[in-house]
Amino acid sequence: MSDKQILYCYLPISELYSTVSEFICDEFKFFQQSIKSALEVLTNLLKEDLNFYMEYPYVEKVYRDSFYNYYSTKHNSTIRNCARIAFFSQDIKEKDFRTKNSFCKIQKNFFGYITIRPTLPNLIGKTMLSPLAYKVNPGIYCLTKANVLINGVRLDISAFPHSSQDGETITCAETTIWSVMEYFGLRYPDYRPILPSKIIAALSNYSYERQLPSRGLTSEQISFALREFGFGTRLYALRTENGTNGGNEAYPKKEFKRLLGYYIESGIPVIAAIENDSLGHALVIMGRESLNHKAIDLSLFESQTVKTNSGEMELYDYVDFIDKYIVIDDNMPPYNIVPFGNPTANYNVEQFAECKIQNFIAPLYHKIYLEAGGARELMLSYLESFEHELSGNKIILKLFFTSCRSFKAELNERIDLGFDATELILNLAMPKFVWVGILTSPELLKESKANSMVVIDATETNIEEARILMVSPNKITTYDSQAELDSKYAFYYPEIKTFNIFANNLKDS
């Protein structure tokens, strides 16, 4: 135990730049301006009535791992410590941290933290910042909960892990892997957060050159690393007009955008590769803009004609209504909201102009065997084969997958399908994961309600074995492949109410 003290300050956010710039000059011996642009962009987004608690030294695990595996091997001595800056509402006073009765109040007014690491030119390290810290909270997100100790008080924060790249041990590609693994590792017991050295180790058998200093990764390598960490990854590329990069037979734009949308609706953050003529960049898409259902104008969107037993229907895809996605981009502050067609819209650098999403990697639970496109096709097949008694000739499909646990809990707690219908579905034996297609009319959508859904086993790709559940306005249909030949399809006739649309995969803060 040394007698070295942790240095700290608790100040209004208006003093953030001056404090941090003085700090990096005094401790890291960097020019004060080195942090200017990164902090300016962030503070412009943050609420103005915040205080910050800054402490130094702080051991940031991700940077410390890079330090021992890379920076410490250089001739120049590099500092191994970071600083941490936590944000609170100005209702919290410094004395509250030593008043037991105030701990709940501190928790309610805690918005997360950023770290400052001694790595020029990108000094902002691991960040767990709540979207609630921002002046404007424009979307719904995948968020995970982390527990931290700030000034002696244990605090929870709901955020998506973010970091800038240090450019030597982690570029954008490794940063996206770290960020996704940190998210899943904090959220689910099946995964573990990983450090940069583990990413390098996972890819050591798949690299034909030295791995440090990092020169970036291809999407295929990112997918490989995620698979090594326990995911059943799927990779989708956009069809290129001129057939460059082998992409002339890949997914057409509309299908590609929908597939991405389905995974985001499922609460799965995806790693997207964006490219223009001069560069390739990786980022994590982990949310989307909030939609005002009352303002959706169907005439602006293209429909697909579906021939059902009750006549032709115009099918609209819910994800087509979404234009803007929320991304974790290591060159920008967290929760950067961008149009699908221009993911670098918020960049001021010419080099990043006209980037497009060219492919994305969906890190799926390894037992989800039926991917999004197959689930949609199977649903359409069943839509066409049965009498659904849907009113009107326009229907909207909202497709996503979820765990059986979440599906049943949401059904019981919020959906309100009617007593017998709910009881019937809750008592059905279901697989661990299901694809859910919510079907609604334009009128019901305005009230965020629906009257039909199709549920498909996501752990089954052999359609001869796939279990199906369909809720129509007047009946519930189930398919059990293992039942006798004349009772494979059963029709149940409980009272079925219009129900609330599922919304538990993405959170608003």
């Binding site: 956009l238 990069n245 992409g247 390739g280 496109g373 097949s381």
Partner: protein
Amino acid sequence: MAKLRSTIVAKMNAEKRISYLSKEEAYTIHKATAVRMGKYSREYSKKDKASHIAASKVLLTS
């Protein structure tokens, strides 16, 4: 085991609110689905292969 039951199915059965699709109709649906999904699978394989080729070409480093 005797105490385990599914009351909702028993109740709906008693109220004659359950019916079944005949095996002929079930087979028609099954066949139509198999044809459609077979076609989808072939298309999907091409896109899958092209995706992997495209994903190995560009180094993501910026």
